[in-house]
């Protein structure tokens, strides 16, 4: 039976081997580049007390020849590589390929920790798996029993491309048993991503880059005769003009080791108007250890939330838009609301935050967040309109009411 997102992901146990130190110790799952810092990032379980073998990871990792740099610590003291043998793909005791550290002498009573890199994109490959969408796919299909059919393929491909285009780098480890949904949520939230199950039960993955893929990417135009704007809220909690971020989580210590709160990534204009507005807690990047990636996400958060955004609720009195799902971009004219340019938000693009269908009355309640985009209208350069600044060539808001 296929694993469910609400199931707990149980890591492999040291007890599967003949002579472990503690049979309940877990073999970590490691993704990306965890070479940062000056101390071990995760704890290695001892799986063989006779031959002094420790599990670096419960799967194959990138080889040293392909660029992996590992550092092993005994009670936080860096060990000479001559003291151990690293094997990135070891079918230990015939129970499947794992990565191992084989010491020549016993390390009784010591805590062994490591820095290093995780899984390659393919077995024996030279490329480290650093795309969070690939990591989620690997977690669900290799470490668990999902197949490609469990994913919404178009959204997955798009999210993967967006992640690559942003030059993000993901890295982290799973060192404890945890609910899969929580792991996936932690992974995606490090990159402003979202996950949800669509009506078919397929997992939809999305990475928010504050852009709309293309102008006609909108899912639906809601006509005025069918809909009613029932709520339009601006919340102080949603204004963020400076975003401290914690990253580089240390699993051995159980805390973040790095933080960034550079004012170069804050918005001074917004701070002048609303004061310094930070989230209640620093934004936590459990799956990112790369400062450039963190600062890109930081910039996106500030760009998105530096000004108050409308969160609107629309009642759709018809079943015409049952195909509109979470994450979709819809066009809705909120004529009673105005943008900074002084124009009513006609034909504005909104990102759907939630859909609540009522099957008894065949209506739907849709909650959506304001974006920076709207439907535009172009004009012919035939002399009808003067270039006096009253309209924009090709970027004027389409004021037609649908």
């Amino acid at each position: 039976m296929t694993t469910k997102l609400t199931d707990t992901h149980y890591l492999k146990r040291a007890g599967r081997y003949a002579a472990p130190l503690n049979s309940a110790d877990r073999l970590p799952v490691v993704y990306g580049d965890l070479t940062d810092g000056t101390l071990g990032v995760w704890v290695l379980p001892e799986i063989d007390t006779v031959n002094f073998v420790y599990a670096f990871a419960g799967h194959e990792v990138l080889s040293v020849a392909n660029g992996n740099t590992i550092a092993i610590y005994e009670n936080d003291l860096l060990l000479d590589p001559a003291m151990y043998t690293f094997n990135e793909a070891n079918d230990y005791e015939g129970l499947g390929v794992i990565a191992t550290i084989d010491f020549s002498t016993p390390k009784t009573g010591s805590i062994i920790t490591a820095r290093g890199m995780g899984k390659p994109t393919i077995s024996g490959g030279a490329t480290l798996m650093e795309n969070i969408i690939d990591i989620i796919y690997d977690l669900m299909t290799v470490e668990n029993d999902w197949t490609a059919a469990n994913f919404e393929a178009s959204a997955k491909a798009r999210a993967s491309q967006l992640f690559t285009a942003q030059s993000y780098k993901a890295a982290g480890a799973i060192v404890e048993d945890a609910v899969l949904w929580d792991i996936v949520t932690d992974m995606l939230s490090s990159f402003l991503g979202s996950a949800w199950l669509d009506g078919n039960g397929k997992l939809v993955l999305d990475i928010d880059t504050n852009t709309i893929a293309y102008e006609y990417g909108q899912n639906a135009i809601f006509s005025r005769s069918d809909t009613e704007l029932t709520e339009a809220i601006q919340r102080l909690a949603n204004i963020i003009n400076q975003c401290p971020c914690n990253y580089s989580y240390n699993y051995a210590a159980g805390e973040f080791r790095k933080q960034t709160n550079d004012t170069a990534h804050a918005d001074a204009i917004s701070q002048g108007i609303y004061g310094v507005r930070k989230p209640n807690t620093p934004y936590q990047f459990y799956w990112c250890r790369d400062l450039t990636s963190v600062q890109k996400v930081q910039d996106l958060i500030v760009a998105k939330f530096k000004d108050p955004l409308y969160e609107i609720t629309i009642m759709d009195a018809t079943p015409k838009h049952y195909d509109v799902d979470v994450g979709a971009i819809i066009i809705f004219s909120a004529e009673s609301l105005y943008g900074k340019d002084g124009n009513p938000l006609r034909n504005h693009f909104w990102r759907v935050l939630s859909v609540q269908p009522d099957l008894s009355s065949m209506t739907a309640k849709i909650r959506a967040l304001q974006t920076d985009y709207y439907l535009t209208a172009g004009y012919l350069a035939d002399g009808t309109y003067l270039a006096d600044g009253s309209i924009f060539a090709g970027a004027n808001r389409d004021m037609t009411i649908f």
């Binding site: 469910k4 963020i240 049952y322 195909d323 799902d325 979470v326 269908p357 099957l359 909650r367 967040l369």
Partner: protein, 167 residues
Amino acid sequence: MSRTLINVHKRLMRGEIPTPYVMVQTHMGYRAYSNRELSGVFDFAGVLADGTYTAEGDYYAGSLSWGAIEKSARVLDFGSFERTISPAKDDVLTALGNKQLQHISVEMDNVDRYFSKLIAKEPFIGRPIYVFIGFQTEPIDSHFPIFRGTITELSVLDTMTIEADEK
């Protein structure tokens, strides 16, 4: 990401109201329930292998319909659910790290103890449940799935309440 067939789209835009229904997939097969009587693709659409039809591809053996082993108007209330990437109680940023899976409650008429008898022999608990909307005269592949989950709890009195979670 969903696509609607053009026929369905046209009918929706004309203001026609589709039918919501629940499919419970038991070990025996699909059981379809709605708040009205179901016909169209829910009717038996198979053809007898009596020589009347030749197997040249014009007909599918039995798959023109849902192939439901039961269809009946037993739904009292479809309940409601909210599929969201941002729970309303959280600010938008916090919500990114605090997603929620959905839950639905469907109330069925059990005053005649129909379900009480049925689930004793054909368990509903742990079985998949789907909620669709669609036009009964349109092909089943045009019917739009809006929820898919697993039945996690049954409350069986005069009204049987099915509790189901997305998984």
